[in-house]
């Protein structure tokens, strides 16, 4: 889709100011504008695209007015959440307007009877989680960067996270959306119900569309009863294979479905622990190759104890070096901090890391083969690959480091080859190239290469139906 977009003229800026107010229109502050042109991918790769203007609407009506204006002048609009994305989905490559939802951050309603929460798109997901806890409820669509990511961004990328094995990804927890179309029309999709057969499901189409179909302004999320008890384990293994096998035993033999089963290889975990100055067991030992972080859940203490005993025995019987349990809330916080915020630890390796944390996904049964592929690729490119992932979902985040012989200026090209090689492997094993981060900029090429032309054609039709001028987050997905 070749597009000629309009420029953001001073007149258009004036009109934007009329809509959202002077304070919510960022035009002159270049530093600030730049911040609106980056996401977490930019922090690693430096890929930035300054928008011409950034606006921070405070209501759905303002979003609608902005879209009417953008349609009138054919200006690209890139919706933006917290900017924690890892695939560049929020980078405004066609410049134009960045529409940040940060000011729409109110939790509008928590309804314990219908078991829903109605929130604006800019609500920080963790705030929502904490708030509903007070009602004895739980929002189970818990992605990893919950300290900062917005619910709207979670919807746009259909975010996953550690608890997918038990609860499923974001999509599973969304009941309704309020969205603004490219032409400014406001649609209410879904609602406070848990089933419907009521025509094409536009809501489901919009979830995971990375801002290319519509702008999400409000979200109705499903809440489930909270409570029960959890226990976090950290389990060291001599090597990756043993760790992966043990997960299979837990699930198949033990019939245990933990809330989370996270894999971290030795390097990722020990570096992360070092970075956070957190002491975890077995990080100093040479005979450790990998760790599993497991969160068990029980309806009550007895059930949890029983699960723990079974899980502990299965791990130990299948090669675990030991099984450690978090004894306190502090222990749990430490374990999860090391898991969630692991990437800064890679600085200890002292090598350039490729920006794109791979987000490969394969059927769980193929994880051992995928792990072998990682080794093959490591050798082939003489690189080091660090792997961390939601292993029971077959979802692996891989990081690769620049071999000394590759000059820095060639590294991105070189790394891209590694990346493509790995993605090919995942696809051959029946997987996909992105489990949860989205396609964004990073994976577009390989996405288009792999999807069948017929499927792409239907997608293009959908895009055209929602956004005939192609002004919503141009250049992303298709």
């Amino acid at each position: 889709m070749e597009q000629i977009y309009g420029k953001v003229t001073p007149e258009i800026v004036d009109e934007l100011k009329k809509i959202v107010g002077e304070k919510n229109t960022i035009i002159d502050d270049k530093t600030k504008l730049k911040e609106y042109g980056m996401d977490t991918l930019s922090l690693i790769t430096g890929v930035v695209a300054d928008p011409e203007v950034a606006v921070r609407p405070e209501s759905t009506d303002q979003v609608s007015a902005i879209m009417r204006l953008a349609t009138k002048y054919t200006i690209p609009v890139t919706a933006r959440g917290a900017g924690t994305g890892l695939a560049g989905s929020a980078i405004p490559t066609s410049r134009g307007i960045v529409l940040s939802l940060e000011k729409m951050n109110r939790i509008l309603e928590i309804d314990a009877v219908d078991r829903v929460a109605v929130v604006e798109a800019g609500v920080i997901t963790k705030d929502l989680c904490r708030k509903v806890e007070e009602y004895g409820l739980m929002y189970a669509g818990y992605p990893m960067s919950t300290e900062s990511s917005f619910i709207g961004g979670n919807v746009a990328t259909n975010a996953g996270g550690a608890k997918v094995i038990k609860y499923g990804n974001t999509r599973k927890h969304i009941l309704g959306l309020e969205v603004v179309l490219a032409n400014g029309e406001i649609l209410q999709l879904g609602g406070r119900f848990r089933k419907s057969t009521w025509g094409y499901d536009l809501m489901e189409t919009i979830i995971g569309s990375e801002g290319t179909l519509a702008i999400v302004t409000k979200v109705i999320v499903n809440l489930i009863p909270g409570g029960g008890k959890t226990l976090d384990l950290i389990v060291p293994f001599p090597d990756t294979e043993t760790a992966v096998q043990a997960v299979a035993k837990l699930i198949v033999e033990g019939n245990i479905f933990p809330v989370a089963v996270e894999f971290m290889d030795r390097m990722s975990l020990t570096f992360s622990a070092k970075h956070h100055e957190i002491s975890l067991p077995f990080t100093e030992r040479d005979d450790v190759g990998a760790f599993l972080i497991i969160q068990l859940h029980g309806k009550n203490q007895e059930e949890l104890d029983e699960t723990y005993e079974k899980a502990g025995e299965l791990c130990l019987g299948n090669g675990a070096l030991d099984v450690f349990a978090a004894e306190s809330r502090q222990d749990s916080e430490k374990i999860w901090k090391v898991r969630e915020e692991y990437s800064p630890g890679f600085r200890f390796l002292g090598k350039m890391v490729y920006a794109n944390p791979g987000d490969l996904i394969v059927p769980f049964s193929k994880v051992p083969e995928m792990m072998n592929e990682l080794k093959r690729v490591e050798k082939k490119y003489n690189t080091t690959i660090a792997a961390v992932g939601h292993i029971a979902d077959g979802n692996l985040h891989t990081h690769f480091f620049k071999p000394d012989e590759v000059p820095p200026e060639n590294w991105t090209e070189y790394a891209k080859k590694i990346y493509d090689d790995l993605t090919d492997c995942a696809l051959k094993l029946g997987g996909v190239g992105s489990g949860e981060h989205g396609i964004g900029l990073l994976k577009k090429e390989i996405f288009l290469k792999i999807k069948s032309p017929a499927e792409i054609e239907v997608m293009r039709g959908i895009k055209k139906a929602f956004d005939p001028q192609g002004i919503l987050n141009p250049g992303k997905i298709i």
Partner: protein
């Protein structure tokens, strides 16, 4: 060597709910945990045992409802050898003074001779930090509070550092001694599987007022010199000016500068 560790089970949250009418804390449905600061005392005891090896026995004691047995099991999972729960309706409503009396009576009765009593700096619920030194006083022991490091422990003597205002005091004391520890002293471990299994199987005797031979007049609410007459939610409010910067950043900041000038802060 015999080490006694004193621990407490506390609510695993600081968001306690209150019954506003009766002015009492609602404890139903609130998760419990070992007082986080006590875990440092447990850890230090276990480290001493690992260092010295054979012949060190760690006895852990807690006073509380039946449920507090969970805290004692945690301590066993972490490496303590024996645990005792002091639980009796007669203990209910004890203030720190009575709690210390009860604990010291129990230590005398069930542990007898000991070399070291370790406890956390304070509990995260009551936050008084009084029980430790009071136990020391009841048992007429030398008392080392705020211990951040045990330098040596030999020849019936201990040399330790105390974290006090402006630095660390290095002190020496004969044994037996009572020590309260601060966070700085170590990093508590996580229990492993065999520890937790040992804890699961451990026999934890429940001791009553009679079992420890305590003077009943000095127990529980009745024996407590202090009385909580009211609990309430803190109300914090100053009559301040709150200005919105929305569309008025310059004005708001100028207002602040004027205010600071008025207050002679600049």
């Amino acid at each position: 060597m015999k080490i006694v560790v004193l621990i407490k089970q506390v609510p695993a949250t600081d968001k306690v709910k209150m019954d506003e009418e009766s002015g009492t804390m609602i404890r139903d449905g609130v998760e419990s945990e070992v007082n986080p600061l006590d875990l440092y005392a447990v850890e230090e005891a276990v480290r001493i045992k690992e260092r010295i090896g054979n012949g060190v026995e760690i006895h852990v004691i807690s006073m509380g409802p039946k449920k507090a047995e969970e805290a004692l099991r945690s301590a066993i999972a972490l490496g303590c050898d024996r645990a005792y729960l002091l639980s009796d309706r007669k203990f209910a409503g004890s203030d720190t003074w009575v709690t210390a009396y009860t604990l010291s009576a129990a230590i005398r009765k069930i542990v007898g001779d000991f070399d070291l009593i370790l406890c956390g700096e304070r509990a995260t619920d009551g936050e008084t930090g009084q029980v430790g030194p009071e136990v020391g006083a009841y048992l007429d022991l030398p008392i080392l509070t705020y211990v951040s490091k045990i330098e040596t422990l030999q020849d019936r003597k201990i040399i330790a550092q105390r974290a006090v205002e402006g630095g660390h005091e290095v002190v020496e004391s004969p044994l037996p001694v009572l020590i309260s520890v601060v966070k700085e002293i170590n990093t508590p471990r996580m229990p492993n599987f065999s520890g937790k299994m040992k804890a699961k199987k451990a026999e934890i005797p429940v001791l009553t007022a009679e079992d420890i031979g305590a003077d009943e007049a000095r127990l529980g609410l009745k024996g407590s010199p202090t009385r909580v007459v009211k609990i309430f939610r803190p109300q914090v409010a100053r009559k301040g000016t709150v200005v919105s910067c929305v569309g008025n950043l310059q004005g708001a900041v100028d207002g602040l500068v004027d205010f600071l000038e008025e207050k002679a802060m600049i």
